[in-house]
């Protein structure tokens, strides 16, 4: 079985330049045959709101964050969102893009224990 890694994404729309590399690293990890999960919490969860990531550009004139996210999803990165953080932002699960699994904080701790590496952005 492939080694597991996790990327915890806390950056969001307030810091566009911090919102491309985590997805790039996630796609890269899949290309290296890691089993990759991203855990969105704090402001990272906002990126999962339908339509929002299309409006955030890490680099002027470059691709929107949604494009980096779609590449990660297409590569096979699993997206999980912290339920409590959706409440922080008054988001309903139905407000989020498709393919996101809602999980509690304990899921993150258990997965972290199983992972070879955990990165935090």
């Amino acid at each position: 079985m492939d080694d597991k890694v996790m990327i915890i994404m806390t950056s969001g729309p307030d810091t566009p330049r911090r919102c491309a590399t985590p997805f790039f690293f996630a796609s890269l990890a899949v290309a290296m045959d890691y089993d990759v999960t991203m855990f969105f919490t704090i402001d990272g969860t906002l990126l999962l709101k339908k339509g929002l990531a299309e409006t955030i550009f890490p680099k002027t004139g470059g691709k929107p964050v949604s494009s980096f996210m779609q590449e990660a999803l297409d590569a096979g990165v699993k997206f999980t969102a912290c339920t409590a953080s959706t409440e922080l932002h008054d988001l309903q699960p139905s407000d989020l893009i498709d393919g996101v699994k809602m999980v509690g904080g304990a899921f993150m701790w258990q997965l972290a224990e199983d992972c070879k590496t955990v990165l935090n952005f």
């Binding site: 790039f24 890269l28 290309a31």
Partner: protein, 148 residues
């Protein structure tokens, strides 16, 4: 030597067409492997890195599994193994200049050398010779890919 839709595709290589990688028998029962001119084009032209997973050296990598990774500013993806084999060595020259895999994908820009585990069985499923290049041409036409 054949040029198809602007892509240089030598007839003496063995291609895993769907993955855009090639293999070529060399001395000592080894295979040299790399990406095709098509992969070089699809990766966006200017590469930031080609990295062979160091942990894999001395280990068997299955056909189609990731042997290395390619990174550019526009793209990140695996270099799948064209055949199953034990990874013997990586091309150290790629660390200094990954773009030799674009400028000379079948020469200086090879990616790794492997000791094949089942070459006789697997080579029949790879595309080679004039018919192999014709199959590759069909793929490029179906996907509307050109290197020029």
């Amino acid at each position: 030597m054949a040029t198809i839709r602007g892509c240089n595709l030598p007839e003496d290589l063995y291609y895993l067409i769907d993955k855009h990688v090639w293999a070529k028998p060399i001395d000592g029962g080894l295979l040299r492997v790399g990406i095709t001119a098509v992969a070089a084009k699809l990766s966006g032209g200017k590469l930031a890195a080609i990295t062979v997973k160091a942990k894999n050296i001395g280990q068997e990598v299955k056909q189609g599994k990731s042997l290395a990774t390619v990174e550019s500013s526009k793209f990140v993806g695996p270099v799948p193994a064209p055949v199953t084999g034990v990874l013997v060595r990586a091309n150290d020259a790629l660390a200094a200049n990954p773009n030799i895999a674009v400028s000379d994908p079948y020469g200086e820009g090879w990616i790794a050398e492997i000791k094949p585990s089942a070459w006789d069985a697997e080579k029949d499923k790879l595309a080679t010779g004039a018919s192999g290049v014709a199959s590759y041409q069909a793929k490029l036409e179906a996907d509307n890919i050109s290197c020029s």
